[in-house]
């Protein structure tokens, strides 16, 4: 997901709110455009995401949002309503999920804005008009799914995509790998203790309880190695190509798997055996590094 090429419209934002929103969005280097409601209705399809400021949202919210999407091409653009606590209550009673992708309440909280933004950009990844580029995340999704399936016979499902500005995780055990080359950063996979044991036991074809802690650590490190290697092969001719290094394993949660200052960490959320786990990818082409 190339956040740098993402266009975000701020609709009907007063100057102060625009400054606040712009500051929150700036760390992702999105291209921000301030528009009136009527301007946005004419060209919403040009954007990947729109934030619509309406502190006094009321029962007319559905109509106002529908006006923004009068063009067919604009119907797939997620629009987030930014409103007051009262406006949120009013809007929630009349808006369906197809009308507003989400509702943010002022004052805007940085963590919440980051999380929602990333999730929404993940939704709108390829509709033919989007400028969002998910080309470097998709190989990691495929690699994770394929690795668990082939090595442990476990199906996993991607459930979400978010951004963090750090490498903190609440999971118990992480396999991590530093990446270098034309692009640099790190990738990690984090499980809770039971899921890690379940996966490794399936790989080794032993019963749960027969494994040692060393087995789990080695198994998680090897899973990381395989996920990174699989993704690497897919990215070899892109600006996100990288070289593998030896995996490391961190045990005990919560912990941090690493961080590149100023570079967002894309968190790919999965479930396997009904249990959530996550893969974090922090990867930036060297030419884009400040």
């Amino acid at each position: 997901m190339d956040i740098m090429s993402t266009a975000v419209a701020l609709i009907d934002f007063p100057r102060l709110q625009e400054q606040i929103a712009s500051r929150l969005l700036a760390e992702y280097n999105v291209e921000i455009t301030r528009l009136s409601h009527s301007e946005a209705a004419a060209r919403l399809d040009m954007f990947n995401l729109a934030l619509f400021f309406w502190p006094d949202a009321c029962a007319e919210a559905a109509e106002r949002l529908n006006q923004l999407r009068s063009k067919e091409e604009a119907k797939k653009v997620p629009v987030v309503l930014v409103t007051s606590e009262m406006g949120k209550r009013n809007a929630e009673s009349v808006l369906g999920p197809e009308m507003a992708a989400d509702i943010l309440v002022t004052p805007l909280q940085p963590y919440i804005v980051s999380k929602k933004l990333a999730g929404l950009l993940g939704v709108k990844k390829d509709n033919g008009t989007s400028r969002l580029n998910v080309s470097y995340i998709n190989p990691f999704i495929e690699a994770t799914t394929d690795t668990l399936k082939q090595m442990a016979g476990i199906e996993c499902v991607r459930t979400g995509l978010t951004l963090r500005m750090d490498g903190n995780t609440t999971g118990f055990i992480s396999g991590t790998m530093g990446l270098s080359g034309p692009a640099e950063g790190f990738v990690s996979v984090t499980f809770n203790d039971l899921l890690a044991r379940t996966i490794v036991c399936r790989m080794l074809q032993v019963q749960l309880g027969e494994e040692t802690d060393d087995d789990i650590q080695d198994g998680v490190g090897e899973l990381m190695n395989m996920i990174a290697g699989h993704a690497k092969a897919e990215l070899v001719h892109t600006e996100h190509s990288f070289q593998l290094s030896l995996p490391n394993v961190i045990v005990g949660g919560p912990h941090s798997v690493g961080h590149l200052r100023g570079v967002p960490v894309v968190v790919i959320e999965f479930t396997a055996e009904g249990v959530p786990f996550e893969v974090m990818v922090c990867l930036i082409p060297r030419k884009n590094k400040a």
């Binding site: 082939q150 790989m203 080794l204 090897e222 190695n225 395989m226 290697g229 290094s245």
Partner: protein
Amino acid sequence: MAILTVDDSTTIRRIVKRSVDEMGVEILEAADGASALKIIEERTSDIQLVLLDWNMPGMTGLEVLKVIKANPAYKDIVVMMLTSEADQSFVVEALKAGAQNYLTKPFDAKMLTLKIQESMTMTKA
């Protein structure tokens, strides 16, 4: 007759061992390149196949492969790379250096068995 698996991951060595045990062939294990070369030197006449990881602490799998292929005493030993390095360029480099087979991780257990059996046939040829 024996197969040597060279991988710094005990998980992979155990998975390989399970497959090889089912074939009734002796399995030897090494966690790095230097240990592998020592075992090969000591058991040259027994070792029919070496399964070799690429990225390991110390010598890389490619370096180990080149040492094996440079020694005429090891000419009957077949080498199959078993690695996460899946780029075509790595496959080509390994084959040019003398590897007879290549399997990328992750792998299906049946595919591993099939590739090992295929590599063993190469020995006879």
